[in-house]
Chain length 305, copies 2
């Protein structure tokens, strides 16, 4: 590693981008790029494709590489993307990370190896260390992905500290999807300058006040305009009021299987039925639940875009 | 699917085969085949390569395909192998399963897609259904892999029933690594003829008495001779006594990080230092713990082979 690369990822509102499928469960690249452009035109400062919401782990490495390549070819700016690259196997994580960096990704979002549970911090450190060494590229900007409800493998504050000390120009931030406000607040306090994104827009203003840089959320696929307004007015009383509305909308969406619900809402917005389909083990939202969801949003006066 | 294939996997004692590595964490194919042959010559009726103990999910699909291919080329009988093929992505699971079946594997051991937690039985059914349909090969003998402590995704009795009814000649058995005796006993009772292997040799005689067919275990990489003796004498009082010894040895081994401990013991047996190394997030067993383990085994009068 020879020279330091600047951080190119913006602060603010990111969507954990949904991945549209064709009938045979392959990725619909055209609809994917279109959705990315729509998100950037409707309030998103940046994008996080191939995260939990993007069903990343439901695709093979080859499918993920092609998906990112096609997005970049379609003109979605790589510098605004934090691409999910963390797999169970360091071999796969290295392949995806190298590819993302080579194409100019602003950052990568890296799960710890997540099959084995109750592994030691020493073991997780060894895994991240191997990946960084093997990628061997000073342009790499790595964001740790802390999402214990799915991964089952938390990233401790001690581990963050150790990685930052060893790789200060590489391990630059985190997405905290624990849902645990105290955990993200403590990270901001312990490691000033470390770029913490909350994993939900519920904590958009709180995380900014605590020293974090923004949010990366599943539901901003739908709430992006409102979230952007909250972010723009973050220093004002109006911003605080809008945050309350945003939080209530998020709470309403959270009651449904979130990937299926967001895909169904996106199918409505775009008029493209194909959007409804997630890959198994997820299933499309049925009509009854969709109607209930619409009623819930209506009660809040939220008009889905 | 045109013709039914017979079940070729034996009943009895299986090892969840350890995967030896070279210094650069690549698979040591020669040591792997040698260990497989040693296990079959030292009490194992069958082998389960690329399971949890084999660090399967720490390797890429390409690495796993090469590993199985090299084993078969080296003369390890495919018909005695239940090969781990379950990944987070159905794309990957299909690729691995097709390959295993094409090479004549006696069965495949299939995890459910394990990244997403709290998914519905309908969603898991859809995932297995997709895989079976896409593999589209009547030779496929699928064993469900129930290991909630690692996968976080249990396979319910209702789901088993539904899969058996739809695919009676394909979904033929299960490895139950829940550690929950009642769960495996109930499976045997509910689905007679369904081939249940206990995920630990502690339950070898109990599972046989309940109608199951054997055990597939991490620790039989070390206890294979004793486990084979228990199996051979299963109808006798001596077998019951030996089961107690076997259980105590298993309990002793379980107190240590099991992959690292078993690899260290195998390094001792073979005189091949390379055996000590697991892939991150696992780490080699340090000397202090290894000495403690040896002392524990000695107290039980167990001589590791």
């Amino acid at each position: 590693m020879t020279s330091r690369a600047p951080n190119t990822l913006p602060n603010g509102v990111f969507a954990a981008v949904l991945t549209p499928l064709r009938d045979d469960y392959s990725i619909d690249h055209e609809a994917y790029a279109e959705h990315c452009r729509w998100l950037l035109a409707n309030g998103c400062d940046g994008l996080a494709p191939m995260g939990t919401t993007g069903e990343a782990n439901s695709f093979s490495v080859a499918e993920r590489i092609e998906a990112f390549e096609r997005l970049v070819e379609a003109g979605v700016p790589a510098s605004k993307m934090m691409v999910g690259t963390g797999c169970c196997s360091i071999t796969d994580t290295v392949a995806l990370t190298r590819h993302a960096v080579a194409l100019g990704a602003g950052g990568v979002l890296m799960l710890p190896p997540f099959y084995y549970k109750n592994v030691s911090d020493d073991g997780l450190y060894a895994a991240f260390d191997q990946v960084i060494q093997r990628v061997g590229d000073a342009r790499l900007k790595l964001y740790l992905y802390h999402i214990p409800p799915m991964s089952g493998v938390p990233i401790s504050h001690a581990l963050i500290g150790r990685l930052i000390r060893r790789y200060p120009d590489t391990v630059v931030g985190m997405k905290d999807s624990s849902g645990d406000w105290n955990n993200m607040k403590t990270t901001c306090e312990m490691y000033p300058g470390f770029r913490v994104y909350a994993g939900t827009e519920k904590f958009l203003l709180p995380i900014l006040a605590a020293g974090g840089v923004g949010c990366i959320s599943a539901t901003t696929n739908i709430t992006c305009r409102l979230a952007a307004e909250v972010y723009a007015k973050r220093a004002t009383g109006e911003g605080q009021g809008l945050q309350q509305t945003l939080t209530r909308v998020r709470d309403a969406l959270e009651k449904y299987p979130v990937i299926a619900a967001l895909k169904r809402l996106t199918a409505e917005r775009t008029g493209h039925e194909g959007w409804r389909l997630p890959r198994p083990p997820h299933l499309p939202l049925d009509d009854a639940r969709f109607e209930a969801l619409q009623a819930d949003l209506q009660k809040l006066g939220f008009v889905a875009p």
